[in-house]
Amino acid sequence: MKSKEKGMTLIVKTVTRLTVGLILLYGIYIVLHGHLSPGGGFAGGVIIALSFIHLMLAFGRETALKKLSQARASILESLGAIMFLSIAVLGFLGGYFFLNFLFKGKPFNLFSAGIIPLCNIAISLKVGVGLFTIFVVLVLFKILKEDNE
């Protein structure tokens, strides 16, 4: 007999509830400090995706998809890619594709390095949402199979 309750046990749910915000925050930290410390758009994006996947593992698919639906995820993914491309194309303002046209600032300040933080944000959107969507699709087939049984 299948239990009606979705997701894992109470212990897992409680721990997830406590940590999931921290994981998301850490992911954002990694993205924003990509130009200063190890990490960057890709690593941060993976951590952001992990926080949503964590939610899905503990609470079941519906809870996670309520936070970020599949349609919205696919829009965000395309937006991330377009944002990255437009930053690159905006470099033509200075005469070159991918030119770092913004004010560079002082090294090791949070607001420095011109377009690199913006690129990191775009990459994290694309990677984070992309990984999340891949995970949803992997789970999708399993759920369809369970429903048929």
């Binding site: 395309s78 937006l79 377009i82 194309v89 005469g95 070159y96 594709f97 991918f98 030119l99 770092n100």
Partner: protein, 495 residues
Amino acid sequence: MILPFFVIIPLACAFLISLLGKLNKRISDIFANLGTFTLLILSLSAIRYQLFAKVIVYRVGGWPPPIGISMVLDGLSSFILMSVNLVSFLVCLYSVSYMNKYTDKYRFHSLFMLMLAGMNGVIVTGDLFNLFVFLEIASISSYALVAFGTEAEELEASFKYAIMGSVASSFILLGIALLYSYTSTLNMADMGSVLLSRGNSLLVNFISVLFLMGFGLKAALVPFHAWLPDAHPSAPASISAMLSGVLIKVLGVYALMRIYFNILGINNIILSIFMFLGAASMLVGVILALGQWDFKRLLAYHSISQIGYIILGIGLGSPLGILAGLFHLFNHSIFKSLLFLNSGAVAYRLGTRDLQDMGGLKERMPTTANTNLVASLSIAGIPPFNGFFSKFLIIVACIQSRQIIYGICAVIASILTLASFMKVQKYAFFGKLNKKWQDIKEVPGIMQLSMVVLAVLCLVSALLITPLFKPYLESAVNVLLLGRGYNKAVFGALK
């Protein structure tokens, strides 16, 4: 100035289509066709720039080459760009009607443009790691496109293709990593000059074997061809046309030529390996094709055989051999994509790819039958069509370089090609009309249009060998003949 647009336009189209495609059915058609049309115009104007300036180097982000990524347009890249964008424009036009039988057409267009971005990127880039990245973009989107129909057979083919392709990619990545550790640079021109000053070593030989395996698998040369006869027929016809027509040439043949001739430096051992692999692919491909009854599978085996011709021509290493090889590359991209589009047109109306099930389609589908006749005559090497001139030149070049045996192989393969296309003509288009197909009609006009244009091109591209257009072909050949003088040409263009 125009160089980055070869990557920007298809990427922008791909993402815009995936964002907006859901809203309206027509949006993806319009974006994709506008994109490919602009690319075609751009590659035509690239010819003009290239003939004027010989080599154009673009500094991405304003960084000078050994430090930053550079994009390089020379004779060879402009030649390959032309054939890729020409075929992709016509195929994209064809898929406006053809892809209606599939759901989620906008996803197809999005993946198609991504694949095009990858191919154009491989051609224009001047940085070895960048080449790998674009190669992966093109191959990963082609794995997805092969599985587009999501039937069991297509998924199996795509899985096989993905596994073999990933093995090839890891060989290439390993080769690039070793080369980077040896030369401490990733810029292709700079790498060439460092390798030239260090002389030859055992490591470089090892790297060249890795690249031969990796790119040879992407080009489907004979010991590495097993994925192709499954992957190419399973894809939708317009994608088969792209895969067979241009993808294997860009990812395989172009990358092999660029790396061996311009970076690692060519020598007689590699040339004889090329010739042997070319002759083997030529014969094995055509012999396997003879027994096929599946229309698209037969064409896929012929792709292996024709790639063999190209590699044999280039492997001869003489000016005439390379010229003939490149000429055949262009011709093959035209007639092979036309043949796949024909098979798609037949499948569009009949829903079958089995040759024994067809018959007498000439009465019902005259345009398809006539364009297919032109393409079959071209691939078999019958005089007024382009295939004859390039195959003839390859055979002449073989004799000129005193490789008589390879010349004979080329003749035999050509005769067997003719035989297997006689079979296609007899069973599919001539003969008695099958009762089942009494009521079928010709395919929609836009599909006919792109097939007719390709058929005309089969005749017209024979003119490439005439004195009027020959300088264009020769400027591509000269890049390869330049060999490791490539680095001087690239750094010379910067000053």
